[in-house]
Amino acid sequence: MSIEWYVVLSSLLFAVGAMGILLRRSPVVILLCLELMLNAGNLALVAFSRMVGNQQGQVFAIVVMVVAACEVVIGLGLIVAIFRRRLPLDVDELRELRG
C-alpha cells in the first residue's frame, strides 16, 4: 500500500472529527471528536515516518498521545465540575464567556 492511502484516510478521519465538533453540543462528545482529530494527526505522523524511513515521527506520535491524555484528563475534570454545579451540559448554553 502506498503512503498516500494512509494520509488520505487520516485527512478523512480529521474531517469527520471536525464535523462532529461542529455538529454536536454535548461536551463529552466534543472531547471524543477532539480525540478523533488527534488520532488522525497521529496516523499522518506515523505514515510520514514510514515514508521517510525514520523513527522520529513515531516519537512525535507518542508525545501527541501524552498531550491528548492530559487534555482528556482536564476536559473530563471540567465536565465533572460543570455537572457538580448543576449547570447544563450543553456548549450552546454555557456561553457566558462569549463577548
Binding site: 500500500m1 502506498s2 503512503i3 492511502w5 494512509y6 488520505v8 484516510l9 485527512s11 478523512l12 478521519l13 480529521f14 474531517a15 469527520v16 471536525a18 464535523m19 462532529g20 461542529l22 455538529l23 454536536r24 454535548s26 463529552v28 462528545v29 471524543l32 471528536c33 480525540e35 478523533l36 488520532n39 497521529n42 496516523l43 506515523v46 505514515a47 515516518s49 514510514r50 515514508m51 521517510v52 524511513g53 523513527q55 522520529q56 513515531q58 516519537v59 506520535a61 507518542i62 508525545v63 498521545m65 501524552v66 491528548a68 491524555a69 492530559c70 482528556v72 484528563v73 482536564i74 473530563l76 475534570g77 465533572v80 465540575a81 455537572f83 454545579r85 451540559l89 450543553d90 450552546d92
Partner: protein, 200 residues
C-alpha cells in the same frame, strides 16, 4: 494480504469515527471510539510501528476510554436538546466537514512529494519496536520526554483541583478557592443529587 488488512482497518476506523459523531447516546459514542482506536492500532502495525500500536491499545483503548466510560456513567448519557442556536447547523456542519476533507485531499494529492506514491523505503525488522523508540526517547528526545512527564503530573494535579470534592463550608474560610458557589434560587435543592452530599 496487506491491502485486505488495510481496507478492513480503514473501514473499521472510518465506521468508528462516524459512529462517534452519529450516535445520540454518549455511551455508544465511547464504544464506537474504542472500535476506531483498535482499527488505528492495526493501521499502525501495518506501518511497521509496533510500539505506537501497543501504546495506542494500552493507553488509549485501555486507560483513557475507561476514564470516559466512568465520566459518562457519572454524568449520565443525556440526550441533546433539539434546540439549535445556529439555524441550519445540522446541514452546514456536514458541508463544512466535506469541504475540509476535499481541501485536505487536494493538498495531499497535489503535493510534489514523490515518495507519497510509494510504499516507503525498506526498513529493518527492528523499525519502530520498543527498543528503538526507547533509545530515541531517552537519548535524542530526553528533554521533550521529561517535559511530557511534567505535563502529565500537572494534568493530574489540575484534574484533582477541578473535579475534587469540595471541602465543607465550616472547614474553609470565605472567599478561598475551595468555597462552594452560592446556590442560586433556580437551582434544585441540595438533596436532589446525592453525589454532591459529603460523606463525612
Amino acid at each position: 494480504m496487506e491491502e485486505v488488512l488495510f481496507f478492513a482497518a480503514a473501514i473499521g476506523a472510518l465506521g468508528g469515527a462516524i459512529g462517534v459523531v452519529a450516535m445520540r447516546n454518549p455511551f455508544y459514542s465511547v464504544l464506537a471510539l474504542i472500535v476506531h482506536l483498535f482499527s488505528l492500532a492495526v493501521l499502525f502495525l501495518l506501518l511497521s510501528s509496533a510500539f505506537v500500536a501497543a501504546a495506542q491499545v494500552v493507553v488509549y483503548a485501555g486507560a483513557v476510554m475507561v476514564l470516559y466510560v466512568f465520566v459518562v456513567a457519572y454524568v449520565g448519557g443525556g440526550e441533546e436538546s433539539a434546540w439549535e442556536s445556529i439555524p441550519g447547523q445540522q446541514f452546514i456542519a456536514p458541508l463544512l466537514g466535506i469541504a475540509l476533507f476535499v481541501e485536505l485531499a487536494i493538498a495531499v494529492l497535489a503535493s510534489s512529494l514523490l515518495a507519497l506514491g510509494q510504499e516507503g523505503p525498506h526498513v529493518n525488522p527492528g523499525f519502530g519496536d520498543p527498543a528503538a523508540i526507547g533509545t530515541l526517547l531517552l537519548e535524542k528526545f530526553l528533554v521533550p520526554f521529561e517535559a511530557s512527564s511534567i505535563l502529565l503530573l500537572l494534568a493530574a494535579v489540575g484534574a484533582i483541583v477541578l473535579a475534587g470534592r469540595r471541602v465543607p463550608e465550616r472547614a474553609s474560610g470565605a472567599g478561598s478557592p475551595g468555597t462552594p458557589r452560592e446556590r442560586e434560587p433556580g437551582d434544585p435543592a441540595p438533596d436532589a443529587h446525592p453525589a454532591e452530599v459529603p460523606i463525612r
